[in-house]
């Protein structure tokens, strides 16, 4: 335990050298810290505070590519860049919106397992007072020297698969511009709610 704390302290600025489990636990503790100050910080404050922890622990660029599936290849370079940028903003804004206050929640570690493709799944749960705990499973992949979250499975529902279905459907049915508009509207409503 002590050695883990030391490691976390040494690499406080980024997540280089942390194990997959440590990346998840560091991110969860940063999230809880923001939730505790959530009301005081307001949406803009939470967005700012979460921006770095999310970017350091998630591979948002890769996630943005996966959620559009094979549609990615059909996008121009400019569109790919736009999509990546807006997706990063949406991800942070979604956290800032959904984790807005604190009522005694805490994360607990359950187990971790390696996948055959060199990924790691970290099984955790969120304890919510007077409610059933929610299982959070994080799928991580190695990026350079650090482990990054590429998917979160909450009580068996994969965030990546959910988004992938939505994004590819919108791209196929309505096109790139509509997808951009819808994401922008979502970010806008998150900032107001």
């Amino acid at each position: 335990m002590m050695s883990m704390l030391t490691t976390s302290a040494v690499f406080a600025q980024d997540d280089v050298g942390l194990t997959a489990k440590q990346v998840v636990e560091k991110f969860q503790s940063e999230l809880i810290a923001v939730m505790k100050d959530g009301k005081k910080l307001g949406y803009a404050g939470r967005y700012e505070k979460l921006s770095e922890p999310i970017s350091n622990s998630h591979d948002l660029t890769k996630i943005a590519r996966i959620v559009v599936g094979k549609e990615w290849e059909k996008l121009s370079e400019d569109q790919q860049q736009k999509l990546t940028d807006i997706f990063i903003r949406l991800s942070i804004s979604s956290y800032a919106h959904n984790f807005k206050d604190y009522s005694g929640e805490s994360f607990g570690f359950d187990s971790e397992e390696e996948t055959t493709r060199g990924g790691v799944v970290v099984h955790t749960h969120l304890v919510i007072p007077n409610d059933k705990p929610v299982k959070f499973d994080y799928m991580l992949k190695e990026k350079g020297n650090s482990w990054r979250i590429i998917n979160i499975i909450a009580n068996g529902v994969s965030d990546l698969a959910l988004k992938r279905s939505e994004y590819t459907t919108i791209l196929q049915r309505e096109g790139f511009e509509v997808l951009m508009t819808k994401i922008n509207e979502k970010i806008d409503s998150y900032s107001k709610l």
Partner: protein, 285 residues
């Protein structure tokens, strides 16, 4: 990523599953109708009847906006929270009979014993089921139904279907639901009691429906995807969840090949022993 996603989404998706009654005849009729239309614009292999399903989704949505939501709003105003929780517990307890039957059909005998204990405890000390005393003693609510039993028996889910009033289902879900309705004692309590169950279920799901609006870019796809994943998760008792690797997609993107589709990759071994059950219709704030 949203904090409330799993509970809220799943309970809302389930609300219409809970209200199955006379609509089954209509449902079968629609399924028959769906087999002849909508195929040409299919974009998802699980949802070949997307166009028909979308139309039905919007019909259900409007029905909810103009009928269920306003009535439920009044119900929420005139009944205190403890009454709604009590009513929820009552119907949830009756449903345990069906859970126990399906435990047996899936050869889950230990779980069946626990679920029987849960039913007996809540029916007696829990004042006929209105108070959920069993959960406090560690006998959690398990979710088992005939659709899961069919899955365990090897019946494939078949195409995704949105049924009138009932909402999300699959081809397999139709016989599954018919069995569950027949095995639920509340079916035989008469229409007024059914209406109370329906109303309370809708009222309990208020927060989850709001969540779908908030979190989704395309509410239809969001609902379909959460529903299919949730049902799959239930049918496999949570064992399929960590296999969503998306590795193939990454390889595909890196190499630029044309292969597509995330394949489900079996985990090398099942390290996670923790089975979990999604809660149905968790009382929402």
């Amino acid at each position: 990523m949203p904090i409330k996603m799993p509970i809220n989404v799943n309970s809302s998706i389930n609300i219409r599953l809970k209200v199955i009654s006379v609509s089954l005849v209509m449902a079968v009729a629609l399924a028959a109708c769906a087999t002849t239309t909508g195929v040409e614009h299919a974009t998802n292999k699980d949802d070949p009847y997307e166009n028909v399903n979308r139309a039905m989704y919007h019909f259900n949505d409007k029905l909810d906006d103009y009928l269920a939501a306003p009535v439920s709003k009044v119900y929420n105003k005139v009944t205190p929270q403890f009454a709604r929780t009590g009513v929820f517990n009552f119907f949830s307890n009756l449903k345990n009979i069906n859970v126990i039957v399906n435990d047996a059909l899936q050869a889950k005998f230990m779980q069946g014993a626990r679920d029987s204990g849960r039913f007996l405890l809540n029916s007696t000390l829990g004042l006929g089921g209105f108070v959920d005393v069993a959960t406090d003693t560690g006998l959690d609510l398990n979710v088992e139904d005939f659709d899961q039993t069919l899955a365990v028996w090897g019946v494939p889910a078949g195409s995704y279907l949105v049924l009138p009033i009932i909402g999300p289902s699959t081809m397999r879900g139709i016989p599954g639901a018919a069995f569950d309705v027949a095995a639920n004692p509340s079916t035989y309590l008469g229409v007024p009691i059914q209406l109370v169950s329906l109303l309370n279920t809708r009222a309990t799901a208020e927060g989850s429906l709001k969540f779908i609006d908030e979190a989704s870019l395309d509410p239809y796809v969001f609902t379909r995807e959460s529903f299919l994943q949730w049902r799959n998760n239930l049918a496999t008792d949570g064992k399929s969840e960590s296999s969503m690797d998306f590795g193939d997609d990454l390889d595909e993107l890196n190499s630029g090949t044309k292969q597509s589709g995330a394949k489900i990759e079996p985990a090398p071994q099942d390290i996670s022993k923790t089975k979990h059950k999604l809660e149905l219709l968790a009382p929402l704030q």
